[in-house]
Symmetry: C2
Subunit: 82 residues, 2 copies
Protein backbone atom coordinates (compact mmCIF):
# COMPACT_ATOMS: atom_id res chain seq x y z
CA UNK A 1 0.00 0.00 0.00
CA UNK A 2 1.27 3.43 -0.92
CA UNK A 3 1.09 6.39 1.39
CA UNK A 4 2.17 10.00 1.28
CA UNK A 5 3.05 12.05 4.34
CA UNK A 6 3.31 15.83 4.30
CA UNK A 7 5.40 17.44 7.01
CA UNK A 8 4.99 21.21 7.15
CA UNK A 9 6.09 23.86 9.61
CA UNK A 10 3.36 25.04 11.96
CA UNK A 11 1.95 28.52 11.31
CA UNK A 12 4.07 31.10 13.10
CA UNK A 13 7.29 29.08 12.92
CA UNK A 14 9.93 30.96 10.95
CA UNK A 15 10.73 29.39 7.59
CA UNK A 16 14.02 30.82 6.29
CA UNK A 17 14.08 28.35 3.40
CA UNK A 18 10.64 29.55 2.27
CA UNK A 19 11.79 33.16 2.59
CA UNK A 20 14.88 32.39 0.50
CA UNK A 21 12.71 30.85 -2.23
CA UNK A 22 10.36 33.83 -2.18
CA UNK A 23 13.30 36.23 -2.44
CA UNK A 24 14.84 34.26 -5.32
CA UNK A 25 11.49 34.14 -7.15
CA UNK A 26 11.22 37.91 -6.74
CA UNK A 27 14.71 38.34 -8.19
CA UNK A 28 13.66 36.21 -11.17
CA UNK A 29 10.72 38.52 -11.83
CA UNK A 30 7.94 36.57 -10.09
CA UNK A 31 6.84 39.49 -7.95
CA UNK A 32 3.29 38.22 -7.52
CA UNK A 33 4.35 35.59 -4.97
CA UNK A 34 3.12 36.72 -1.56
CA UNK A 35 4.13 33.86 0.67
CA UNK A 36 6.21 30.71 0.41
CA UNK A 37 6.52 27.88 2.93
CA UNK A 38 8.60 24.81 2.29
CA UNK A 39 7.93 21.40 3.78
CA UNK A 40 8.75 17.78 3.20
CA UNK A 41 6.84 15.08 1.41
CA UNK A 42 7.60 11.45 2.17
CA UNK A 43 6.29 8.67 -0.08
CA UNK A 44 6.20 5.25 1.51
CA UNK A 45 5.28 1.75 0.46
CA UNK A 46 4.00 -0.34 3.33
CA UNK A 47 3.43 -4.09 3.44
CA UNK A 48 -0.01 -3.67 4.99
CA UNK A 49 -3.41 -4.32 3.42
CA UNK A 50 -5.71 -2.69 5.95
CA UNK A 51 -5.90 1.09 5.40
CA UNK A 52 -6.80 1.78 9.02
CA UNK A 53 -3.86 -0.27 10.32
CA UNK A 54 -1.59 1.51 7.84
CA UNK A 55 -2.83 4.89 8.98
CA UNK A 56 -2.27 4.02 12.64
CA UNK A 57 1.22 2.81 11.84
CA UNK A 58 2.00 5.94 9.85
CA UNK A 59 0.74 8.14 12.66
CA UNK A 60 3.18 6.42 15.01
CA UNK A 61 6.03 6.86 12.48
CA UNK A 62 5.24 10.56 12.24
CA UNK A 63 5.14 11.02 16.00
CA UNK A 64 8.36 9.08 16.55
CA UNK A 65 10.52 10.01 13.59
CA UNK A 66 9.12 11.78 10.56
CA UNK A 67 7.88 14.99 12.14
CA UNK A 68 9.10 17.17 14.97
CA UNK A 69 5.66 17.75 16.44
CA UNK A 70 6.83 20.73 18.48
CA UNK A 71 7.26 22.82 15.33
CA UNK A 72 5.79 20.69 12.54
CA UNK A 73 2.38 19.40 11.48
CA UNK A 74 1.92 16.21 9.52
CA UNK A 75 -0.81 14.96 7.21
CA UNK A 76 -1.21 11.35 6.09
CA UNK A 77 -2.74 10.32 2.76
CA UNK A 78 -3.32 6.66 2.03
CA UNK A 79 -3.60 5.48 -1.54
CA UNK A 80 -6.00 2.57 -1.14
CA UNK A 81 -5.61 1.51 -4.77
CA UNK A 82 -4.09 -1.82 -5.76
CA UNK B 1 -4.62 32.13 -4.76
CA UNK B 2 -2.97 29.25 -2.97
CA UNK B 3 -0.92 26.63 -4.74
CA UNK B 4 1.09 23.60 -3.73
CA UNK B 5 4.06 22.27 -5.66
CA UNK B 6 5.51 18.81 -5.12
CA UNK B 7 9.10 18.27 -6.17
CA UNK B 8 10.13 14.63 -6.14
CA UNK B 9 13.16 12.73 -7.36
CA UNK B 10 12.63 10.94 -10.67
CA UNK B 11 12.36 7.16 -10.51
CA UNK B 12 15.79 5.62 -10.66
CA UNK B 13 17.57 8.57 -9.04
CA UNK B 14 19.24 7.48 -5.81
CA UNK B 15 17.59 8.88 -2.69
CA UNK B 16 19.97 8.53 0.27
CA UNK B 17 17.67 10.57 2.51
CA UNK B 18 14.79 8.20 1.81
CA UNK B 19 17.05 5.22 2.48
CA UNK B 20 18.14 6.77 5.78
CA UNK B 21 14.50 7.23 6.81
CA UNK B 22 13.67 3.65 5.83
CA UNK B 23 16.63 2.36 7.83
CA UNK B 24 15.69 4.46 10.86
CA UNK B 25 12.06 3.26 10.67
CA UNK B 26 13.31 -0.33 10.54
CA UNK B 27 15.44 0.30 13.63
CA UNK B 28 12.35 1.66 15.40
CA UNK B 29 10.45 -1.56 14.67
CA UNK B 30 8.56 -0.50 11.52
CA UNK B 31 9.80 -3.38 9.41
CA UNK B 32 6.80 -3.35 7.07
CA UNK B 33 8.09 -0.28 5.22
CA UNK B 34 9.28 -1.41 1.80
CA UNK B 35 10.28 1.82 0.14
CA UNK B 36 10.73 5.44 1.15
CA UNK B 37 11.34 8.45 -1.09
CA UNK B 38 11.62 11.96 0.21
CA UNK B 39 10.73 15.08 -1.70
CA UNK B 40 9.85 18.69 -1.14
CA UNK B 41 6.51 20.41 -0.89
CA UNK B 42 6.29 24.14 -1.50
CA UNK B 43 3.16 26.08 -0.55
CA UNK B 44 2.77 29.41 -2.27
CA UNK B 45 0.33 32.28 -2.21
CA UNK B 46 0.14 34.11 -5.52
CA UNK B 47 -1.51 37.42 -6.27
CA UNK B 48 -3.25 36.05 -9.35
CA UNK B 49 -6.94 35.36 -9.86
CA UNK B 50 -6.88 33.32 -13.06
CA UNK B 51 -6.06 29.65 -12.31
CA UNK B 52 -4.61 29.05 -15.77
CA UNK B 53 -2.33 32.08 -15.55
CA UNK B 54 -1.27 30.95 -12.09
CA UNK B 55 -0.51 27.46 -13.38
CA UNK B 56 1.58 28.84 -16.26
CA UNK B 57 3.47 31.08 -13.87
CA UNK B 58 4.09 28.20 -11.46
CA UNK B 59 5.31 25.97 -14.28
CA UNK B 60 7.86 28.65 -15.17
CA UNK B 61 8.93 28.93 -11.49
CA UNK B 62 9.43 25.16 -11.35
CA UNK B 63 11.47 25.09 -14.54
CA UNK B 64 13.63 28.04 -13.51
CA UNK B 65 14.09 27.58 -9.77
CA UNK B 66 11.99 25.17 -7.77
CA UNK B 67 12.92 21.88 -9.43
CA UNK B 68 16.08 20.55 -10.98
CA UNK B 69 14.35 18.98 -13.97
CA UNK B 70 17.34 16.79 -14.78
CA UNK B 71 16.71 14.67 -11.70
CA UNK B 72 13.38 15.89 -10.31
CA UNK B 73 9.73 15.87 -11.33
CA UNK B 74 7.28 18.50 -10.23
CA UNK B 75 3.52 18.54 -9.82
CA UNK B 76 1.41 21.67 -9.44
CA UNK B 77 -1.88 21.80 -7.52
CA UNK B 78 -3.94 24.96 -7.57
CA UNK B 79 -6.42 25.64 -4.80
CA UNK B 80 -9.05 27.61 -6.69
CA UNK B 81 -10.99 28.38 -3.50
CA UNK B 82 -11.42 31.95 -2.24
Amino acid sequence: MKARVHVTLKPGILDPQGKAIQHALGALGFGAVDKVRQGKVIDLEIAETDPEAARASLREMCEKLLANTVIENYAIEIDAGP
